[in-house]
């Protein structure tokens, strides 16, 4: 039973995280991008971007996996308290905190803390409902997920296909602003968990993971920047810009190494090295700004 619950949590968690990721899909301002099917019409030039404007932001699940691999220990005390959900009363707060609770759900699931994960799953469901996003999951899909709860392979395949349904739902219902806020909340919580798990003297691997988020900040700002006609989102944009200013001081040294390909197993090992350079001062500033913004979102 415990195993089943864990699988259920993982499945739902992936669906939620998928939902947050899906909102990081082609932007609406690109004239080539349609609003129904995500199909890009051929442009006049020989080259164009695939899927319109792509915002590549790592999912909280992926970031939690990276964090765990880096050796960071589980710390439930830093998660957003589940009891706070009743404090959130606006669409803006619901969307951002859906991202936050979704990241917490991913974090607890990756670290195999099923009891904690159950609490966050409930909050995620409540906020999905408040935002009207439950409609993205049709009854047939939900039934199939329930039936396949013991079959991890089928479940993950189902969850993957559900991602696309959510993508279309958000686009068709003109909810890109909500989507952008969910992604922002999820990303901020992920980085917040990282900086507060490791404290003032982070392990070099964790520090590296935080530094590598430089590109994600750029993408996040671009996505949030599309919706700044809303005053609350404009304020969030300003705060994120301050974080970007610090990230601009992070540098990377890239060294190309010839990759090795294993034809039999259809796998290429990429051996190039990227070394991020981040000073203690910049790390401290990023940590403080991330923590401050995250705390204002969860209303600490």
């Amino acid at each position: 039973m415990c195993m089943n619950i864990r699988k259920l949590i993982t499945g739902v968690s992936l669906a939620v995280i998928g939902l947050t990721l899906l909102t990081a899909c082609p932007g609406t301002e690109d004239p080539k991008e349609d609003q129904q099917g995500g199909v890009v019409a051929p442009p006049p030039g020989p080259t164009h971007s695939l899927g319109g404007k792509i915002f590549s932001i790592p999912s909280p699940v992926e970031f939690s996996l990276l964090l765990k691999k880096s050796g960071a220990k589980y710390n439930a005390a830093i998660l957003n308290k589940e009891s706070k959900i009743d404090q959130y009363t606006t669409k803006y707060a619901w969307a951002l905190n859906l991202g936050v609770y979704g990241a917490d759900l991913g974090y607890t699931s990756i670290y195999d803390h099923s009891d904690d994960a159950m609490k966050y799953m409930k909050n995620v469901n409540k906020l999905l409902d408040k935002l009207g996003l439950m409609d993205a999951f049709d009854k047939v899909t939900l039934d199939r997920i329930k039936k396949n709860i013991d079959n991890k392979d089928s479940l993950l395949q189902l969850v993957s296909s559900t991602y696309r349904d959510c993508d279309h739902y958000l686009k068709n219902n003109k909810m890109e602003d909500v989507g952008a806020l969910i992604v922002a909340g999820g990303w901020l919580e992920s980085i917040y968990l990282a900086v507060n798990t490791v404290g003032k003297t982070p392990h070099k691997d964790v520090l590296k993971r935080i530094a590598e988020q430089k590109l994600s900040v750029d993408n996040l700002l671009e996505m949030i920047g599309m919706h700044t006609s809303d005053d609350d989102i404009m304020l969030l944009f300003t705060k994120l810009s301050e974080i970007k200013e610090q990230y601009d001081k992070v540098t990377f040294k890239y060294t190309f190494v010839k990759p090795e390909t294993d034809n039999a197993n259809k796998i290429t090992s990429i051996k190039s090295i990227t070394e991020p350079q981040i000073s203690d001062e910049v790390y401290k500033s990023i940590s403080e700004k991330i923590t401050s913004l995250r705390n204002s979102i969860v209303q600490n």
Binding site: L22, V39, V40, V159, Y254
Partner: protein, 140 residues
Amino acid sequence: MKKLFITALITGFSAISFNAKAQMCDTIADFAGKFFTSAFISDGQSYRALLVDDQTAEFQTTFFGGTQYRISAVSGFSENALVFRVLDEQSNEIFNSAQHSNTPYWDFKVASTLEVTIEAQLDQTYTKTGCAVILIGFKQ
């Protein structure tokens, strides 16, 4: 009234044509998804483009160090109609599916985080036009 009717008719045909294309891409995306085993978690997006002749579609993404990724790339319902290349930030070619019989999927084991560009082009011996779909997943 006649003008209005013609406009409505054209709009209707365009919508039907568009929906048919979108549906076709949805079906191709499902086909591309068949190359994902349960070991891989989708990044949640399906990258799509309608390509004609020698057009190239491209996009940038980040591969994080210590992670194994799978790229699945197809056009139409042939497994080999799309050629895809993966390039690093200095445009060094990391992978070219044309050198592997236009394989519809390939895995990438990443030692250190890097930015990559993925380019996709139709193999015109198979088709001159089609919906190209690329999916990315990471291993648990």
